[in-house]
């Protein structure tokens, strides 16, 4: 006996790719099924909307199934990352004006699939990622690589510029770099000269892909303000990935996963999808592994600190703590053995959070690449001050650190000289944090809106405003158990700098209390 057409089912396979969430809705947009990576469904004939999403990026396809159809397969039509770029593409008049600067700033772009022969020893490629992921443009002259372990501004250039090949065909500039830390210097849209670490791994070709974006600022014009835009490197959108040493380009999968992970690190609210962690473990790109492991530990930390998200559920979803610890070790232990500061810090932090182990003292040649790793290091410096030496790049990073999404970026123009940062005991710091809180509490209890009052806070220095912000947040998260380590972590300030900043904040706030 045959079934009626409406009772028949059509076999539909939906392929999204690693970590891609898929949801299928029927013709009335009612949910039918959800899953990750791929789905196989037996559906009644009719029309369906298939929605792909990955770390906030999205694409929807419509499909119609007829009774008697042979098994169907649909896949993502295009890179999800290109959708993000489209949606984020500037459309305001100011942005359009600034985009007109492109031809003067960038050399000719071309599709990247040209069969170029690049010497295997040129292990570092620098380019600008365009709106279409298939297009790479060359960087302007304001971007350079320097010795990433240099201790002062007069250091020699660690990468011989003579070995650079500037190719107008594939858009990349190539360098021969020694494995270890390299320093990337560039001018951001804000016109500030910034610097960050890029760790070069052995037997990999590293691709540093910058993005130019409009930077907005308000400019006074008589009694009015008008918005001005300027095009420059947006450090929050930088992507660093790698490929085998003779590869011309990273694979699409590595690019897509890299984009998704950087996006997720910029916006870690949703945590890490376990399947994404597994997908990354199946690749050989060390940068993806660092990003995924960092995201996992950030998720863990957020779950511990933010009470509305259940740590238990999250861990149950990934197979428990032993699974997570094994996965993290598998991902980054080999990278730590290659001298990656990020990898060592991630492992330390994970072992401390997951298993309650002490964090061993590692001394690194250069600051880490990723900002969460720097913040963990800063927190750890409360009990182990020598972790962040008061000299060289560490001092520059500590003094000139700027928020740049997932990256630790510092202003290399800021003076690195100055008094050596004094050591301070955790107890002294703890006492200062509580002193600060007490002052704030007195003000709130007194019935004023206290330091919440913008008029008052607005008169304080930016550093003190940041400290107050951090104190309010920690008061909410940790209450009276607030730790100096948490403050150091939140501010990304090493112990010695934290002492200095807390001292100044207390000086500024205390007179307010008296008024």
């Amino acid at each position: 006996m045959s079934s009626s057409p409406s009772e028949q089912r059509v076999d539909l396979t939906v392929r999204g790719g690693p970590g891609v969430r898929i949801s299928v809705t029927d013709a009335s947009y009612a949910p039918v099924e959800e899953g990750t990576n791929s789905l196989r469904l037996l559906l009644r004939p009719g029309s369906y909307a298939v929605h792909f999403s990955l770390a906030g990026l999205a694409e929807t396809q419509l499909v119609h199934l007829r009774a008697g159809d042979s098994p169907r397969t649909i896949s993502r039509a295009q890179s999800l990352s290109s959708i993000e770029k489209s949606q984020a593409s500037p459309t305001t008049a100011g942005a359009a004006d600034s985009l007109a600067e492109w031809p003067t700033k960038l050399v000719q772009s071309a599709p990247i699939r040209r069969p170029l022969k690049i010497d295997r020893g040129l292990n570092l490629a620098l380019g600008v990622l365009g709106a279409d992921p298939g297009i790479i443009a060359a960087v302007s002259g304001s971007v350079a690589f320097v010795d990433g372990t240099a201790t002062d501004s007069s250091s020699k250039v660690g990468i011989e510029l003579s070995s650079e090949i500037e190719s107008h065909f594939d858009g990349f500039k190539y360098f021969a770099a020694t494995p270890g830390a390299a320093g990337l210097r560039f001018t951001a849209g804000s016109r500030r000269k910034l610097e960050q670490t890029v760790h070069i791994f052995r037997e990999r070709r590293v691709f540093v892909l910058l993005r130019y974006a409009p930077f907005y600022e308000m400019e006074r014009s008589g009694d009015h303000y008008r918005r001005r835009s300027r095009l420059g490197v947006d450090p929050t959108l930088t992507l660093v990935v790698s490929a085998p040493p003779d590869a011309q380009m990273p694979s699409d999968e590595v690019l897509n996963l890299g984009e998704a992970l950087i996006h997720a690190l910029r916006n870690p609210r949703r945590g890490l999808d376990p399947s994404l962690l597994e997908a990354v473990a199946a690749t050989d790109c060390p940068y993806l592994r660092l990003y995924a492991a960092t995201l996992a530990v950030v998720s863990l930390e957020r779950n511990l600190k933010t009470p509305d998200v259940s740590l238990k559920d999250w861990l149950a979803g990934v197979g428990g703590m032993p699974w997570l610890m094994r996965m993290l070790s598998e991902l980054v232990q080999p990278l730590a053995e290659q001298g990656s500061a990020d990898a060592a810090i991630i492992l330390n932090e994970a072992r401390w959070h997951l298993a309650g182990h002490d964090r061993p003292l590692h001394l690194f040649a250069a600051p880490p690449m990723l900002d969460p790793c720097w913040c963990w290091l800063a927190a750890q410096s409360v009990s182990q001050p020598s972790l962040i030496p008061s000299r060289g790049l560490f001092l520059k990073a500590a003094k000139g650190r700027e928020a740049a999404g997932p990256w630790l970026v510092w202003n290399h123009g800021r003076a690195s000289r100055g008094p050596s940062l004094a050591r301070i005991s955790p107890e002294q710091l703890q006492s200062m944090v509580h002193q600060l809180l007490d002052v704030m509490k007195v003000r709130e209890d007194a019935g004023s809106s206290g330091a919440n009052s913008y008029d008052e806070v607005g008169k304080l220095s930016r550093s003190t405003q940041e400290i107050l912000k951090a104190a309010w947040m920690l008061d909410e998260l940790e209450g009276s158990n607030m730790q100096a380590e948490s403050m150091a972590h939140l501010l990304g300030a090493p112990a010695a700098m934290l002492q200095d900043r807390l001292g100044q904040a207390l000086k500024e706030i205390t007179p307010l209390e008296m008024t």
């Binding site: 947009y29 009644r44 029309s47 959708i83 806070v457």
Partner: protein, 356 residues
């Protein structure tokens, strides 16, 4: 179910602030308020709608007019339709209202904003970056005080808000300078109550992206609100509307309004597994019109149209279009010898389908 609502919209931020005049925010707020006040919609009683727009709505419908007549007072006074509300006025209201709603056993609180917006980028990964509504006291030299942050609302509502909270923000999420301090929090000193079960958050655009007004040339509405409210009023599956259903509908519907630009809205629930029903009962409006133009097809050709409920109708090609009142959803058209053509029928305006 008892529900309260806060609706705030600003078209005019004043000159010299670098914020353009908007055309549709107040109209969006009126539309949203009409749905909120409808007994078959949000079910909000007139005395429980805190409504403040600047300027005042030009021609409020009867439901909104009744609510304006019964308007509750804001903590610092207002609504004052001669100016836009400030960030502090909004935050204070939200804090106090959440507590009051909780105390009085109100089941649901709706919070709706339309106007300009921004997205913060804080230093630490512990603090969320967040979409923010820009209130009337925006000043380019001191932006933070005017910001009302979506994440801070969520945190506040989960700590001391009523059982269900639905927050909608129809505004851009253009990146805020990293030099700006974070927006102020909400109700930091209010005790935790743990009544809240779930918070739904609808945002008009992706991070760093623009929320458009529509139509492109002489805009009258925000694209997100227009599709969203239409979906709230009329999109149903077996008599109810889920968040997932509305999100898919809005994502598809918004594209037809903003093309060739792209706008990707989102609607999420915290915690993720909470089953938040947005509406129940029949659609509130007549079905929108679907115009099918078959004039380019051979006269007399039969084309099978399939509705979202899988029922079918044969349309015969001829010089005149078929104009049908149809429920919103995906429609497919089978032309002999070709693959089926799928067209979303979104509404509320007539959908044009031309088969060549």
């Amino acid at each position: 179910m008892t529900a309260w609502a806060v609706v705030v919209a600003i078209n005019d931020y004043g000159s010299g602030k670098g914020l353009s005049q908007l055309a549709g925010a107040v109209a969006d707020a009126e539309d949203m308020a009409d749905w909120l006040l409808h007994p078959g919609g949000g079910g909000v009683a007139p005395q429980h709608l805190w409504f403040w727009t600047y300027p005042a709505p030009a021609s409020p419908g009867p439901l909104l007019q009744a609510a304006l007549n019964a308007s509750p007072i804001w903590p610092h006074g207002g609504p004052d339709f001669t100016r836009a509300p400030t960030g502090n006025e909004i935050r204070t209201l939200l804090g106090e209202l959440a507590v009051q709603a909780c105390t009085e056993g109100t089941d649901r609180l709706y919070v709706y904003f339309a106007g300009h917006g921004a997205h913060t980028d804080p230093v630490s990964t512990i603090i969320d970056n967040q979409a923010c509504f820009i209130a009337g006291d925006f000043h380019p030299r001191a932006q933070a005080e005017s910001l009302v942050g979506a994440e801070f609302i969520r945190m506040a509502m989960q700590r001391f808000g009523p059982a269900e909270v639905i927050l909608i923000m129809d505004c851009c999420r253009t990146p805020l300078s990293r030099l700006e301090p974070d927006p102020p929090g909400i109700g930091r000193s209010i005790m935790r109550r743990d009544v809240n079960l779930g918070v739904g958050i609808g945002l008009a655009a992706a991070r760093d992206a623009i929320a458009y007004e529509t139509p492109r040339v002489t805009p009258t509405r925000g694209a997100f609100s227009k599709v969203l409210v239409h979906g709230l009023r009329n999109l149903r599956s077996r008599g109810s509307l889920s968040v997932a259903q509305l999100e898919t509908f809005v994502r598809l519907g918004i594209q037809s309004l903003v093309a060739p630009d792209i706008q990707v809205p989102s609607i999420e629930i915290r915690p993720k597994d909470y089953n938040l029903l947005l509406a129940q009962g029949p659609p509130l409006d007549p079905h929108p019109e679907l115009l099918v133009d078959l004039s380019a097809r051979p006269a007399g050709e039969a084309i099978l149209m399939q509705r979202p409920d899988l029922s079918t109708q044969t349309l015969v090609a001829g010089p005149l279009p078929h104009i049908l009142a149809e429920p919103i959803g995906l429609f497919s058209f089978e032309i002999p010898g070709q693959d089926p053509i799928i067209r979303p029928h979104i509404g509320p305006e007539r959908t044009h389908v031309v088969l060549t």
